[in-house]
């Protein structure tokens, strides 16, 4: 069953330095890290101490709330450091690889022949609940829920994103096993897959409801795809999982060893050779991008709209499939040259007060990280709606969050959204409002309130 859904709202930010479809093997990293803050809503409880020896697949920590949800070491080696931040919050568990690649042995599981309860336990034990997110609240999934459905987006529409066809090439069998597992987790069926018409990888995949999408970013966001197929109502829970993690899950279940492969798009205008690199979860960023001058270049783990800023000594984020190198915009801009009155031929703008819209669609832009203005109150209206493909009033929802009005938030549809769905609103905002962090606050507030 295939249905094509056309989405008009949204925008593709045409950034310079898109990755080529070439995949290279990244050099193996000396250090790897699993970073608890990457997993929304997880409070970690350590299972290892500094200096402990671990195998690839050994548990490093688990979720305090759901101890069965484990977070595994992607490589074998020794726990070098537990990095802590304010209030001793654990920021990262760093493992020094020993290069032996010793594997923790799990039992091999055939998802089709396993009942749901056993499979939930198996998935959690193998560290894969870490990669399942849920809506509402856009947090790590709760293994005690039975989701209404599980949604997998088959493509990433974000600027400079990895090409899923490239990343998954040759892994059809693993992906299929992963889908079978998700079917069991979702209670028998109810697995949805969103794809693009040009993709061929998913053609032979069985057991999913496939929807074909056309349209600009954020069409690839699971939230957008869910909204346009089976919108989430109050009281319903939908899980989402990245397609690469589905393949990793499938491979782990059938082989009995932890598969933490990542094909990462390394891209951006400051990147010498934008391409895909095959590596392992949590690898040191330097093995992907080398060493950069942090004054001039920003390293973003994730996409330029939702990713995390990191540094030369940082690590690839747990939920990230791309790394971007963007020019830092930390220098003042004179009004007539490149400031607010400039002609702005080199700026990609969604506002027609800049000439972007008159330029050929093939032109790409090197955007720096400058805020391009100061924060102001909401003034301009009708600016978020064209880039927000939901039947939801974005500004009104944001205002209800700012006003701590839980009732209004529910009515205005907060259950359906994640901060990433608002990323383009934040990009386009004339008043430079921190839209995603407002949405995150609202979701956290709501979760706390509803318990």
């Amino acid at each position: 069953m295939t249905r094509t859904i056309r989405i008009k709202k949204g925008a593709d930010i045409r950034l310079k330095g898109r990755p080529s479809t070439q995949v290279e093997q990244a050099s193996s990293a000396p250090l790897y890290a699993v970073q608890p803050p990457n997993y929304q809503g997880i409070v970690p409880k350590l299972e290892v101490k500094e200096g402990a020896t671990v195998k690839a697949g050994s548990t490093l920590f688990h979720s305090k709330e759901h101890p069965e949800v484990k977070f595994l070491s992607p490589v074998s080696g020794t726990v070098k450091q537990v990095v802590r931040g304010e209030k001793r919050r654990i920021l990262a568990v760093v493992v020094e690889a020993d290069g032996k690649n010793e594997l923790h042995a799990f039992a091999s599981v055939d998802p089709v022949a396993t009942d749901r309860e056993a499979l939930v336990a198996a998935v959690a034990e193998r560290g894969f609940f870490a990669f399942i997110e849920q809506r509402p609240f856009a947090t790590a999934a709760n293994p005690t829920d039975v989701p209404r459905s599980i949604h997998v987006s088959g493509f990433d529409s974000a600027p400079l994103a990895a090409d899923m066809e490239v990343a998954l090439a040759g892994r059809e069998a693993a992906f299929q096993t992963g889908i079978h597992a998700l079917r069991v987790l979702a209670g028998g069926s109810n697995v949805q897959l969103g794809t693009k018409a040009v993709q061929t990888f998913f053609n032979a995949i069985e057991g999913v409801d496939t929807f074909t999408f056309e349209g600009p970013h954020p069409t690839g966001n699971a939230g957008v795809q869910i909204h346009h197929t089976r919108p989430i109502n109050k009281g319903e829970v939908v899980w989402t999982m990245h397609a690469e993690d589905v393949a990793n899950l499938g491979e782990t279940l059938s082989s009995g060893t932890y598969c933490a492969t990542r094909v990462v798009a390394v891209a951006g205008s400051e990147c010498d050779a934008p391409r895909h690199l095959q590596t392992t979860l949590g690898c040191a960023i330097s093995t992907l991008v080398g060493s950069v001058n942090e004054e001039e270049v920003r390293i973003v783990s994730g996409n330029p709209l939702t990713g995390d800023r990191t540094a030369n000594d940082g690590f690839l984020g747990g939920m990230h499939h791309q790394v971007c190198l963007l020019p830092e915009g930390n220098k003042p801009k004179f009004l007539l040259v490149d400031g607010w009155l400039g002609l702005g031929f080199d700026k990609f703008s969604l506002s027609k007060s800049y000439p972007t819209w008159l330029m050929p669609k093939s032109k790409e832009f090197a955007m720096d990280t400058c805020n391009n203005g100061e924060e102001r109150a909401f003034v301009v209206t009708g600016q978020y709606e064209p880039v927000f493909p939901f039947d939801i009033y974005p500004v009104q929802l944001l205002k209800s969050i700012i006003a701590n009005d839980i009732d209004a938030m529910e009515k205005l549809g907060i259950y359906e959204v994640a901060p990433e769905d608002f990323a383009l609103c934040e990009y386009a905002c004339t008043s430079k409002i921190a839209v995603q962090s407002i949405v995150r606050n609202g979701l956290d507030m709501l979760k706390k309130e509803l318990g």
Partner: protein, 416 residues
Amino acid sequence: MKALHNLLDSVRPHFEEGGKLSKFWVVYDSLETFAFTPGHATKNGVHIRDGVDLKRTMFMVIVALIPALLFGTWNQGHQYLLSIGEITPNDPLMTALWDKLFIGAVKVLPLVVVSYGVGLGIEFLFAGMRGHSINEGYLVSGMLIPLIMPVDCPLWMVALAVAFAVIIAKEVFGGTGMNILNVALTARAFLFFAYPKQLSGEIWIHNVKASADAGLLADGYTGATALGHLASTVGKGLDEPAVTGVMSMFGANGMFSLSNSFLGLIPGSIGETSALAILIGAALLIWTGIGSWKIMSSFLAGGLVMGFLFNLLGLNAYMTLPAIHQVVMGGFMFGMVFMATDPVSAAQTERGKWIYGFFGGFLSIMIRVFNPAYPEGVMMAILFMNVMAPLIDHYVIEVNVGKREKRALAAQGVTA
């Protein structure tokens, strides 16, 4: 540019906390950010941001106002020379171009200076008190206010109106972005209600009273605006000589003919007379997406519908004026393009904008004709719709909320 930036940097310590001039930090900050977009890099959330900011947005509105400002300046001189018979309506428009511009500029510039001086002064004061930076909102309001003033409006009255509008309509509610009423229209409404006599009389054409006293006034010039003349016909029979006299002024060769009204060669507030100049501004606002085309087009539709209904009724001479003539007269076009589209005080939902605009235009013409005491119905209509805008949005959003609730109930029905 480096030199300018170094200069700004070198005086910066004086304005910072503990410096001699720290009270004037707001002034320094606003000048610095005017010249240089600060090198603030994004922190959390998006790493890249669109180039557009509020400064650029507001500046575009000012650019859109320039045709109306230039034409208005010229027209004030033009009207003055016409009123004293120095030129005749049949002379080419370029006659005495520099005289007209000079006379106009002498009257208009002080209004602009007073508006910005008083308004920005109060803004700086409030920003300093509240410890936040200056918002760009007043850059536009400060230009709008002189453009909706009569040419001979005493400067002290303008200053008072600006102070009232900025403090009561804006700062009391929390500043730019928080106001309910359009700031510029509040200034005009203040004058209208506080100084009705001064505003309705002899200040629409420069020096008209003095000219009349000196016996210089040309035939047909009383100093009244088109709407003032029309208002005088209400309550009188269609055939009364006074009425036919007025209506002949709106005929093909009259002072207020359709083409004169459209081009703006008539007395009126400085920026409001020329529909053409205003529409050039409207084109820029729509082009850049800064002014809502939905509000403008529905506003126009509302005005035309009401005008047309009046044509059908035809109960008095005012009603018989063609709808198209109604909308190019008075402040209708100016209100439609620059006042009704103020994003803060207008409806904020896309559907709400249609409703808001339509009723704005509809009521403008209705008030104008029904209540001759308020010749400028546009001001009243837009202020009224400003108050109604949140209500319109509320109902538009309720529809969306209802749809979601219905969907949730349907889903429960399936699972139950």
